[in-house]
């Protein structure tokens, strides 16, 4: 579904990703762990199409297409979703209106019929019920005045509603208490399916106790330095990222 080869990315003139390669198959959950500054968030932003990230080398193929050529909205319509590490507050734009506009824009782009407000609300209620969310947050402006936890829940709610094929969670667990963390994990687990993939970017192992990944990668200094199964995460937690760096040096020698 997603194939990244030898990706080099510069941000403000500084090389952040230095030859990252990664392949995610449909149905899989990949976790990307790594120390601060390793390039984790850069990866998410590049995949979603944020400006200011200059790809100097390498390729990203998603569902047979060159992802890097697409505008952010085209990527969304093609099924790519980024749950933001810092969701943006948009005063004056009602959450429901925003979600309906987004969903219908995606459907229109894909040549599907747009949902009227009744159909849309029905879908919203279904998703709210699955995620145990209150509909109160729908009546407010997008993320405005939301607590950190509410913002992250809103990201997961948007993901549930938009039903992407590739969901990238950029440190969605940061700053969450255990209940919110479980809710995020439940949301992801409920959506796991053979034709959907997840890229879970995280600094800590904690989230991976609830979302058990198929593959765990360690990202350090702009490259994947270690790949393993779910058991890699607790090892990292135990030994710290320095352990990976040492192994890498030992391997190089």
């Amino acid at each position: 579904m997603l194939k990244i080869e030898n990706l080099h990315v510069r941000v403000a003139g500084k090389e952040i990703l230095k030859g990252l390669s990664l392949e995610v198959k449909a149905g899989q959950v990949h976790a990307i762990m790594g120390p601060n500054g390793a390039g984790k968030s850069t990866l998410g932003n590049v995949l979603a199409g944020r400006e200011g990230y200059e790809v100097t080398q390498g390729s990203v193929v998603y569902a047979g297409k060159n992802l890097l050529e697409l505008e952010p909205e085209e990527r969304a319509a093609a099924g790519v979703f980024l749950a933001f590490q810092y969701p943006v507050e948009i005063p004056g734009v009602n959450n429901t209106y925003f979600l309906r506009t987004a969903l219908n824009a995606q459907r229109k782009h894909r040549g599907e019929a747009e949902l009227d407000s009744m159909q849309f609300l029905k879908r919203v209620r279904e998703k709210l019920a699955v995620l145990h969310l209150k509909d109160e947050l729908l009546h407010r402006a997008v993320n405005e005045g939301f607590s950190g936890g509410e913002k992250k829940r809103n990201e997961i709610f948007q993901m549930a509603l938009l039903e992407p094929r590739l969901a990238i969670l950029d440190e969605t667990d940061s700053g969450l208490d255990i209940d919110a963390l479980k809710m995020v994990a439940d949301g992801v687990n409920a959506m796991r399916s053979p034709d959907r993939a997840f890229l879970v970017v995280t600094h800590y192992q904690r989230l991976l106790d609830y979302i058990v990944p198929d593959v765990v990668h360690v990202l350090a200094d702009g490259r994947i330095v270690e790949t393993g199964d779910a058991s890699l995460a607790p090892k990292l937690e135990e030994h710290g990222y320095a352990w990976v760096a040492e192994r890498k040096l030992a391997g190089a020698a």
């Binding site: 507050e89 948009i90 005063p91 004056g92 925003f98 402006a141 938009l162």
Partner: protein, 373 residues
């Protein structure tokens, strides 16, 4: 510069006039160099203009002013009731209101271009002795040879009375308009004014409000949304004269392409006007590198025990928010339109009539087209 026009539209001494027209000097000079004939007060009202203001809710509570003159033919005051009296004295059209009027009244200024550039002027006065009234004011025109209008209005709001004014000025590129709104509020009187300024070759709004009686209150909301070469200049001059008076001013501005917007908000709290509360917030969005917005909040306080807060900003569209919307599948142009409309809509929140509010919001949309950068 256009000395004669400056004389006509300016207020205060020569220096004050020069200063207040600083940002619109060029626009005024260009007007001064043009020849205008007197506009035809008996011009036929085109159907396209009628549809712009013909709201069923105000059909029989409506004054229509054609090219500066009150039109008997198009006005209809059948349903205003005994609490409203109208008349004309010395060239001033006068409206007097004494009592609570549940349905809104409407005053429409229609500018119909002639074959050559034309101009009109009008003076109105309004006295609200007591009670409450909602007045919807509208300026409509057609593109053509160009019209220069000048409207001066004095409003007196009596003790405990309230006026809700909703003023919509949606002008074609060839129309210029000078408006003076001079409001005096007695004790416990309230003015809630919402101004929407769209388009225009040059539109200038001078709004001076005197909070003359204790506990008088002004809530001023406004927005200009400008594209093309539109030019809008708003000058607010609020004076707290009596004790415990309040003003709450919230204005927004958006300029795209080569448009020019000016907001000058002056609040003066006179000596002895203790316990006054003055608030001014002005935020602006520049949507193009060639557009310009100038904002100037001015606060002068000569009293003790005053609460005052003011702030003004000129910024650009939040790129992070734009990316957030796009990352959810909303195309760039729609995302921009969504954000700019939301930015402008805030000033309409105080309008309690939902139909009216939605109608105004709908009018904003074509002026905040997301396509241009």
């Amino acid at each position: 510069m256009g000395a004669a026009l400056l004389e006509e539209f300016g207020r205060g001494d020569a220096r004050a006039r020069e200063e207040s027209w600083r940002y619109s000097k060029m626009a005024l000079r260009a007007l001064a160099q043009q020849e205008f004939v007197a506009a035809d007060a008996n011009a036929e009202l085109p159907e396209t203009l009628r549809t712009q203001f013909d709201w069923p809710a105000t059909r029989r509570r409506r004054v229509v002013v054609v090219n500066g003159a009150v039109s008997e033919r198009y006005s209809d005051l059948a349903d205003v009731g005994a609490m409203v009296t109208v008349g004309e004295t010395g060239g001033t059209y006068a409206v007097r209101i004494d009592g609570k009027i549940d349905e809104p009244m409407q005053i429409v200024y229609v500018s119909i271009p002639s074959a050559q550039p034309s101009r009109w002027q009008t003076n109105t006065s309004m006295v609200i002795v007591n009670g409450f009234v909602t007045l919807i004011e509208q300026h409509v025109s057609l593109d053509g040879a160009g019209v220069l209008g000048a409207s001066r209005r004095r409003i007196d709001i009596g003790e405990g009375a309230r006026l809700d004014l909703v003023s919509l000025c949606d002008l074609p590129e060839s129309m210029s308009l000078y408006r003076l709104l001079d409001v005096h509020l007695a004790a416990k009187a309230t003015l809630h004014a919402t101004h929407v300024l769209l388009g225009g070759r040059m539109q200038r709004l001078d709004m001076q409000v005197e909070l003359a009686g204790e506990q008088a209150r002004l809530e001023s909301r406004g927005v200009f949304a400008l594209r093309g070469r539109a030019h809008a200049d708003t000058q607010l001059d609020v004076r707290h004269v009596a004790r415990d008076t309040t003003c709450d001013i919230l204005w927004r501005g958006v300029a795209d392409q080569r448009a020019r917007g000016i907001f000058h908000g002056a609040i003066t709290v006179a000596e002895g006007a203790d316990g006054s509360d003055a608030k001014l917030s002005n935020k602006n969005l520049l949507l193009s590198a060639l557009a310009e917005i100038d904002t100037q909040p001015v606060l002068e306080i000569y009293a003790d025990e005053v609460k005052a807060a003011h702030g003004a900003t000129v910024g650009q569209i939040d790129e992070r928010a734009l990316f957030y919307l796009r990352s959810r599948g909303i195309p760039l142009a729609d995302a921009r339109r969504m954000m700019v409309t939301a930015f402008c809509r805030e000033v309409l929140d105080g309008i309690t009539d939902v139909d009216l509010r939605n109608r105004l919001a709908g009018l904003l949309v074509p002026h905040v087209d997301g396509a241009s950068a």
